[in-house]
């Protein structure tokens, strides 16, 4: 994205011409600056709250800025001292994200490739077969009953992986991208005797790196941030993922029980309020740290598949 900005810059020239251009600049810097600040402040508030002493939190509420005398790492210490359930939740999230993303990308790319093949006779009918599911669906109730009663996904990792494994939109992005790869590549490889699977794996996938990067990001984000399926399908604590674990921590009574049980501390002395914020930081950290590196792929990805049926 940043590379493209240069073009615009050149066109504008460096100076500011005219009165209304000046006005647009001023309004632009103020509004965009405000917007960016509003997006940043909540993260700032949560981080400083997580480093604030519990007694200060109880007395003064969540702080607006860091006070040196209230600085405390007690909440993190507690998280580190009894890391089993947090590590388990991390493990579940990372494992499910890795497996799920791999399968989701493979499925979307493979399906998208077949449907982009001009010589495949039923591609329009099958495309519509997929697209129709975005127009009409049976609703959450039959889906839930099917998953729980007939597929036995309760307290199974399948319940965390399967629901997010295939998205018609990702498939359409893949199809759109692969429409742009010349059919001649497939055709000449066919003449050389390669079969479709080999063509896909050896020729098409290496040409689709931007697509794979984008789909991986979309899927990984969906898996990492998933709490819904965990809430529906998982009741065993050792299978909770990070987001659902955090969701339960935020409900006070539940958090109290978890922390007191794990730390052996007397209930009133548990630093509950700062723990909640520390858990939020721990659950969000990796995404936010990774974010500056993946952002440009994300932006690129948005432009490769003009989402259209």
């Amino acid at each position: 994205m940043a590379d493209n900005f240069d073009v615009v810059e050149l066109e504008h020239g460096k100076g500011v011409h005219g009165r209304d251009e000046l006005a647009i600049q001023i309004v632009g810097y103020i509004l965009i600056g405000l917007f960016a600040l509003v997006c940043l402040i909540p993260f700032y508030l949560i981080i400083i709250a997580s480093f604030t002493d519990e007694s200060s939190l109880i007395q003064n509420g969540y702080p607006l800025w860091m006070k040196i005398k209230d600085f405390s790492v007690q909440s993190y210490q507690l998280c580190i001292k009894n890391p089993v359930s947090i590590l388990m939740a991390y493990g579940n999230t990372i494992g499910v994200t890795a497996v799920g993303t791999f399968l989701a990308v493979l499925l979307a790319a493979m399906t998208g490739y077949v449907l982009s093949r001009k010589d495949f006779p039923w591609r329009n009918q099958i495309s519509f077969f997929f697209f129709f599911t975005t127009l009409f669906n049976g609703g959450v109730v039959p889906w839930y009953i099917l998953c729980v009663r007939y597929l036995h996904m309760k307290n199974s990792y399948l319940g965390l992986i399967l629901p997010l494994m295939f998205s018609v939109w990702n498939m359409i992005i893949a199809k759109t991208f692969m429409n742009g790869i010349p059919q001649a590549i497939t055709e000449s490889a066919k003449i050389d005797g390669a079969n479709d699977m080999v063509i896909f794996a050896k020729l098409i996938l290496p040409l689709s790196k931007p697509l794979i990067a984008t789909l991986s990001l979309f899927s990984a984000l969906a898996y990492w941030n998933d709490w819904y399926n965990c809430m529906l399908y998982v009741t065993e604590e050792k299978m909770f993922n990070l987001q659902y674990y955090l969701q339960r921590m935020l409900g006070s009574a539940e958090a109290m029980r978890i922390v007191a049980e794990k730390s052996g501390m007397a209930l009133p002395s548990v630093p509950l309020e700062s723990m909640k914020m520390a858990m939020t930081v721990i659950a969000t950290g990796p995404i936010v740290l990774l974010y500056p590196f993946v952002q440009r792929y994300f932006v690129k990805g948005l432009t490769i598949g003009a989402v259209k049926g």
């Binding site: 994205m1 900005f5 615009v8 066109e11 460096k14 011409h17 647009i24 600049q25 632009g28 965009i32 917007f35 997006c39 940043l40 508030l45 949560i46 939190l57 509420g61 493979m110 399906t111 077949v114 449907l115 495949f120 006779p121 099958i126 519509f128 077969f129 127009l135 009409f136 669906n137 049976g138 609703g139 959450v140 109730v141 039959p142 889906w143 839930y144 009953i145 007939y150 597929l151 399967l162 295939f166 479709d196 699977m197 984000l221 990492w224 941030n225 709490w227 819904y228 529906l232 914020m277 659950a283 969000t284 936010v288 974010y291 500056p292 994300f298 432009t303 989402v307 259209k308 049926g309």
Partner: protein
């Protein structure tokens, strides 16, 4: 007689060519199989499950062998008297999300494009994109941090100023603003990137020509940039209108939690269905509500698409 033979032959030939095509493309079909199977299991089979709306669900009978009960579930749904309220809430919230979403996303994309300072642009764009990357659970934690009655930042400030603390969780009227704000906060970064990509993809010669003709910066925005963004906007809006009766469950569930007091202002179809299904285990009525929602969605998207197709086929979804 000969007619019959002819048509039989034709039939046979068609079968033969079908078998031949299958044989020729068996590997492509095999590559399609996992996704087709997935969609059958997780989309088409649940579609057949809409019959649950007309059944009295029994555990032993499951979806297909529970006894029929006619329209009892729908009657119960009407008697519960919530349907109008949740439908209205879903619709109004989504309209607000769509309209304000377009304004904020397009506006910030246009402004970002106009700004000269590269670093400012880069940093602010990154910051605006940040909320998109967090889950609704974390957004719920943000809400807790800011609006919690005893300890929230807002009340810390109010109390330190000597004002009365504000109890958001007892003030249904404030919730539309909070929810709309949160939604815009979380999605605008993403949306503005889509529009910004569309702007950078525009032919720069148009702008140069306009400059030479003496167009001001505002005129260029008004007469070139905004009209050029209409196709992108149409697609984004059409996609959201198709789901106008489907609420953002995460937003409403993680921020409102299960507060009965706030329900008149915050209950949407999705949270209502969820409550019926999980809390009340009222499978028949929740399935009926779900069917009602699916039908509404289907009608909206079909009608919308037809209209758009008539106006300008290029913008139609299918």
């Amino acid at each position: 007689m000969s007619e019959k033979v002819k048509s039989e032959r034709k039939e046979k030939r068609r079968e033969a060519s079908f078998a031949k095509t299958v044989r020729r493309h068996w590997m492509l079909l095999a590559m399609l199989a996992p996704a087709v199977l997935y969609v059958i299991v997780f989309s088409y089979v649940p579609m057949s499950g809409i019959i649950l709306a007309f059944k009295r669900y029994q555990y032993n009978g499951g979806i297909y062998f529970s006894p029929w009960c006619g329209l009892d579930n729908f009657k119960a749904l009407l008697i519960a008297g919530k349907l109008g309220q949740v439908t209205r809430n879903t619709l109004l919230y989504n309209i607000a999300f769509i309209v304000l979403g377009v304004v904020f996303e397009m506006g910030s994309a246009i402004l970002l494009n106009e700004l000269h300072n590269k670093y400012f642009k880069k940093i602010s764009q990154s910051l605006m994109f940040l909320p998109y990357f967090i889950s609704w659970v974390v957004a719920g934690a943000v809400m807790y941090n800011i609006f919690n009655y005893e300890r929230g930042v807002v009340n810390s400030i109010l109390v330190s100023l000597g004002a009365q603390p504000f109890d958001l969780y007892n003030t249904p009227a404030a919730w539309p603003f909070v929810l709309i704000f949160l939604k815009i906060w979380k999605q605008s970064g993403y949306g503005s990137v889509v529009y910004l990509a569309a702007i950078t993809g525009l032919d720069q010669e148009m702008f140069e020509a306009a400059s030479i003709d003496g167009a001001s910066a505002w005129q260029k925005i008004r007469y070139i940039t905004i009209p050029s963004l209409v196709p992108t906007m149409m697609i984004m809006v059409l996609l959201s209108i198709g789901n106008i009766f489907r609420g953002d469950f995460g937003l409403f569930y993680q921020t409102v939690r299960s507060s009965a007091l706030l329900q008149p202002a915050t209950d949407i179809i999705d949270t209502y269905v969820f409550r019926l299904l999980i809390t009340n285990s009222d499978i028949g009525v929740s399935a009926a509500t779900g069917l009602y929602q699916s039908v509404l969605c289907f009608i909206t998207i079909t009608v919308c698409n037809k209209l758009v197709k008539k106006l300008d086929p290029d913008y139609a979804l299918y």
